[in-house]
């Protein structure tokens, strides 16, 4: 049972900013390792799979396999970036380090803190996206000016998956709990959303599931941009991402209130 007082709408304000700034300060201390990881991961993926498997394949959807894969990788990496941040890092701050508790003693409300985590995770997606774009540009996978639009898109993808992930964070008793989310949600979604192969390869039933997954929408926006094209259905894809993020955030807020303000 969830008491009515936990259901009140989010009270958002700029008070989240000092907490966001705290996370940025920690990131700066670890920036070297973070940036290396941000660059190395997509590079290994795209070069390994792209050149390795790509060499055996004809063009996919009219582009080389590595260009096709790059569109998926931008989204996959930005999704993971926000997801890891709100699952493991935010959970540490909430549960292990009691950083949230300390901040609740200052004039911030829980809504400010959860919102701060959401915005920070979206920014992590943004940083990851920048790194992936650098790799794409440096290895001449794409040089289309249109790909600059994946930067605002990465904030939307980050918002979406941070909102969803925060639900798990609010429910989690410990770190092991997050394995369920990766095994049951993130990994199947990655395989169904067209990161590695076109969704048209899927059986019809899986294609209809795929069409409502947020990662599919993200890829439908990012992939054309890397080939210099305007994506189809911009509004519906962006709305779907925003809706997943907003609903997730609201549920996460209710669960966090129940967990910490009882």
């Amino acid at each position: 049972m969830i008491a009515k007082k936990y259901l009140r709408p989010p009270a958002l304000s700029l008070r989240f900013f000092p907490f966001w700034r705290r996370n940025l300060l920690v990131w700066k201390k670890l920036a070297a390792a973070e940036i290396l990881g941000n660059l190395a991961d997509p590079m290994l993926y795209m070069l390994g799979l792209g050149f390795g498997i790509g060499a055996m394949l004809p063009d996919v959807d009219g582009v080389s396999y590595i260009t096709f894969l790059a569109g998926g990788t931008v989204c996959y990496s930005t999704m993971n970036s926000a997801t890891f941040e709100v699952l493991y890092s935010a959970f540490s701050r909430m549960h292990a380090q009691k950083t949230w508790d300390a901040i609740l003693n200052a004039p911030l409300a829980l809504d400010d803190i959860v919102f701060g985590e959401l915005v920070w995770a979206a920014c992590k997606s943004f940083l990851t996206c920048l790194a992936v774009l650098i790799v794409i540009w440096v290895f001449n996978i794409s040089r289309s000016p249109m790909m600059i639009w994946t930067i605002p898109l990465s904030l939307l993808i980050g918002f979406c998956f941070a909102g969803m992930g925060l639900v798990m964070t609010a429910l989690s008793p410990n770190y092991n709990f997050f394995v369920y989310y990766f095994t049951l949600v993130i990994t199947p979604m990655t395989l169904l959303s067209g990161v590695f192969f076109p969704t048209s390869q899927l059986p019809t039933i899986l294609q209809s599931i795929s069409s409502v997954l947020p990662l599919t929408s993200a890829i439908e926006l990012a992939r054309p941009l890397l080939s210099g094209k305007v994506p189809p259905h911009i509004l519906s894809s962006a709305t779907l991402l925003a809706a997943y993020g907003a609903v997730g955030f609201y549920i996460a807020l209710i669960l966090s209130r129940r967990r910490l303000l009882k």
Binding site: L25, K29, K98, A102, P107
Partner: protein, 305 residues
């Protein structure tokens, strides 16, 4: 500024229908140290969380620094400092960074915080430790830094939840000295503790609660005078219990037995001491009654988990 810094009336909080705070009243005057005492699970921390607006009461009223709680809790917390029971310093930052980052949560500009940091480090006896990692601090240092952090916004009212639990005597005495300094500066302190010596040393007034209800309230001296005989003789040894039943009981006003110790409370303990001097198999000490005697009388001797 109103003379009352915190006023609590008929405060009630239930979990799953069971009251954990049940109709408590108290009021803190400006500049005093007020102690909330009670065994584990008596409702101390819940009372504190209610006062801070971190959980909503099921009944009663709270007014802190002129603001209604929980409605305007955030505004009220602007002028409040909090030392929680568990250290929650930010392990990702150094000592000085902890103060800087925490000050920002109050909306203070960096310039103001940086001006305050040296005097706060001095207050915490951490002058040379500003660059140290939190993980490298001792328990006492962490507590003092947590206290310094609670002062970053120059609060009028400071809450301390069991501030010296787990500290060695040196660290406790240093912390007490710092709290007295704050009282001399005119700050108001709200302290929860289950160390009676701490309450007796620091607090002007006390409220003892148990099972969420008020058991007694007053100054430490009043509580002792009103609730207990002035003299105590503690008698130890295998035969203490037998002696108490046979002779001791008749020689004092009230007695309790706990394990191999008999506690004899008396207004006049002369006859008791005369009797004990003849019994070489029994060891004893004679002392004035203290707050711990009152606490045990009012809340019982059985263990609380």
């Amino acid at each position: 500024m109103p003379s009352s810094t915190l006023r609590v009336h008929n405060l009630t909080k239930r979990y799953a229908g069971i009251p954990v705070v049940n109709g408590i009243d108290f009021e803190l005057q400006r500049g005093e140290c007020f102690g909330l005492l009670g065994p584990n699970g008596a409702g101390k921390t819940t009372t504190l969380r209610l006062c801070l607006g971190l959980t909503d009461p099921d009944g009663g009223e709270i007014e802190m620094l002129g603001q209604p709680i929980p409605r305007a809790a955030r505004e009220a917390r602007n002028r409040v400092g909090i030392v929680p029971q568990m250290d929650n310093l930010d392990p990702d930052f150094s000592v000085a960074e902890n103060l800087l980052v925490y000050g920002r949560y109050f909306g203070l500009p960096d310039r103001v915080i940086r001006e305050r940091i040296p005097s706060l480090l001095e207050f915490a006896s951490l002058e040379e430790k500003g660059h140290m990692a939190i993980g490298d601090l001792s328990g006492g240092m962490k507590r003092r830094l947590t206290l310094a952090r609670a002062l970053i916004n120059d609060p009028d009212l400071i809450f301390l939840d069991e501030p010296t639990t787990g500290l060695d005597p040196q660290a406790r005495h240093l912390l007490w000295e710092r709290l007295r300094r704050l009282l001399n500066q005119g700050k108001t302190i709200f302290l929860t503790t289950h160390f009676m010596d701490e309450a007796e040393r620091l607090c002007n007034r006390l409220l003892i609660i148990d099972h969420g209800q008020t058991v007694a309230t007053g100054t430490p001296r009043q509580l002792i005078e009103e609730n207990i005989e002035p003299e105590v003789v503690e008698v130890y040894g295998d035969e203490a219990a037998a002696w108490l039943t046979a002779q001791g009981m008749a020689l004092c006003d009230r007695a309790e037995s706990a394990g191999e110790t008999a506690f004899c409370y008396a207004r006049e303990s002369g006859p008791l001491l005369v009797d004990l001097k003849q019994r070489s198999q029994l060891r004893y000490i004679h002392r004035a009654a203290n707050l711990e005697d009152v606490f045990l009388k009012l809340t019982g001797r059985e263990m609380r988990d």
